[in-house]
């Protein structure tokens, strides 16, 4: 009988808490959203399953979870915790990004900058809620709508909040088609939404090769903390645009990024154990995350309207929302909202310019916050 009782004590059932059950259900919900609704499946499936795995209670003395030294999951999580995986993902992103729409209309880069107001507004909101400076910086970066950047900065500034920040960032990125359209419609008139923009010009190969090198130098000198993320982004882009390293570019944007995405998503999910994730702080982070996306969207749209005061060739202000660097979802949302007004107005290519500029902007912001707050 004692043997049976002792055995029962070693099973997960004995120590499964309500919090664990809630997190397992949340993980299953993520998987369902990904498979049924096709919401960011490449991220939500590994994260959701990781949440299920990470919330199975373990026995004391048996290193199994991401937080147990020497466990397999802890070795996988090492890439997240030490900020290794995000730069590798940026390498892949750079190898699949086409900057030519941005190169053909450089003023749209400023819309990518404007959307980063969401980061700093959220930082202030986090400070007002009582988070300390480092935590607030890590929470603020959710407004950059960039998963790898959010994970990178959280790992450096607030590793204890990494799970909540990553889940919030990826959840809201998946909800971009829900969050952005009402804000875009509220801040623009029908006449503005109908603005058609000139087709982008052809960009030469030399421009596309020189750009990643020059842009890296500019960003790294302004914000040395962004060297890792920006460096890998533009290395990937140079591998693609040079055409002499197509094999490396192909690997970076396919096999490599897929491997890292699986490991990163799964280990981030597994880090959301109920005792660390289900806290009042997480609720605050989720609320701030929603606010950050809303402010970032509004900032981009309003800045586009501001630019139109000085431009003869008007910008469709809807594309300001694409400064939120959820590539390419926010650009697609712009296309969709624009086409509701005018089915023959194709804004997707124009929206890609602030979209990719936003990736650069959020990485620069992360580098700046890391430099200032790490001390």
């Amino acid at each position: 009988m004692d043997l049976l009782t002792n055995f029962a004590q070693t099973t997960g059932f004995a120590t499964l808490s309500i919090g664990n059950v809630i997190m397992i259900l949340i993980g299953i919900a993520f998987i369902s959203l990904a498979i049924i609704k096709d919401y960011e499946p490449l991220l939500l499936v590994p994260i959701g399953f990781g949440a299920v795995v990470g919330n199975i209670p373990t026995i004391a003395g048996m290193p199994v979870s991401v937080y147990d030294e020497g466990s397999v999951l802890s070795y996988v999580y090492f890439g997240v915790k030490e900020g290794i995986f995000p730069p590798l993902i940026f390498l892949g992103i750079g190898a699949m990004t086409d900057f030519s729409t941005m190169l053909s209309n450089p003023k749209l880069v400023l819309l990518g900058a404007a959307a980063q107001i969401g980061i700093f507004a959220t930082l202030l909101g986090a400070l007002a809620l009582g988070f300390d400076a480092k935590e607030s910086g890590a929470i603020g970066i959710i407004g950059g709508a960039d998963g790898p950047t959010a994970i990178f900065l959280a790992a450096k500034l607030a590793p204890g909040l990494l799970g909540a920040i990553a889940i919030a960032a990826y959840s809201y990125m998946a909800l971009v088609p829900v969050i952005q359209p009402p804000i875009m419609k509220l801040l623009t008139t029908r006449k503005e939404r109908l603005i058609r923009m000139k087709p982008p010009r052809q960009v030469s190969r030399r421009e596309r090769i020189i750009f990643p090198i020059a842009a890296f130098l500019i960003c790294a000198l302004f914000a040395p903390g962004s060297i890792v993320l920006i460096g890998m982004l533009f290395l990937g882009n140079l591998l693609k645009e040079s055409t002499v390293t197509e094999r490396l570019a192909q690997t970076a944007r396919t096999a490599m990024i897929d491997i890292v995405t699986i490991l990163l998503g799964f280990s981030v999910g597994a880090s959301t154990a109920a005792q660390t994730f289900l806290t009042g702080q997480s609720i605050g982070i989720f609320a701030l995350g929603a606010l950050s996306f809303a402010i970032a969207t509004a900032s981009g749209v309003l800045f586009a309207k501001f630019m139109n005061l000085f431009l003869t060739e008007k910008i469709n202000p809807l594309i300001g929302a694409a400064g939120v660097s959820a590539v390419p979802d926010s650009a697609r949302v712009v296309q969709m909202v624009g086409q509701k007004e005018d089915p023959h107005n194709f804004l997707l290519m124009h929206a890609m310019a602030p979209n990719v500029a936003g990736v650069i902007g959020s990485a620069v912001a992360a580098g700046m916050l890391w430099s200032v707050l790490v001390k």
Binding site: D98, M102, L103, P106, K107, V109, L110, G112, A113, Q116, I117, I119, F120, A121, L123, L124, L127, A128, L129, G130, F131, D132, A133, S136, G137, S204, R205, R206, E207, I210, F211, A214, A215, I218, C219, F222, A223, S242, T243, V244, E246, G280, Q281, I283, G284, Q335, Q339, P343, F346, L348, M349, A357, I360, G361, V364, A365, M368, L369, V372, L373
Partner: protein
């Protein structure tokens, strides 16, 4: 409810002031805007600078260049196909809404 989040730090405007939040936000935005503005200016000037460079060092059409031209053509074709596919999808969606 507010104190459920964090007890050890000041909240509200005091929390922002204690951490020099406004200063960090202002400097951060300045750096982001400045960096992207410089990038934007660089991109705007690049065609003019390359036009001068083209006279001194013309772009040669070697096999990598041919590959790039072929890639550009393929990329353009893919864009056209994607655009056609998107229009067709939109039209089908509209039709199905009418039917419903």
């Amino acid at each position: 409810m507010l104190h459920a989040f964090l007890l050890s730090q000041a909240t509200g405007l005091k929390g922002i002031a204690d951490a020099n939040g406004l200063g960090i936000a202002a400097v951060g935005l300045l750096i982001v805007f400045t960096a992207l503005t410089v990038i934007s200016l660089f991109i705007a000037l690049m065609p003019k600078a390359l036009a001068v460079l083209e006279r001194v060092l013309p772009e040669l059409d070697h096999h990598h260049g041919t590959a790039a031209a072929h890639e550009q053509k393929t990329a353009d074709e893919e864009l056209v196909v994607a655009a056609i596919g998107f229009v067709l999808h939109t039209e089908v969606e509209k039709a199905s809404h009418v039917v419903r």
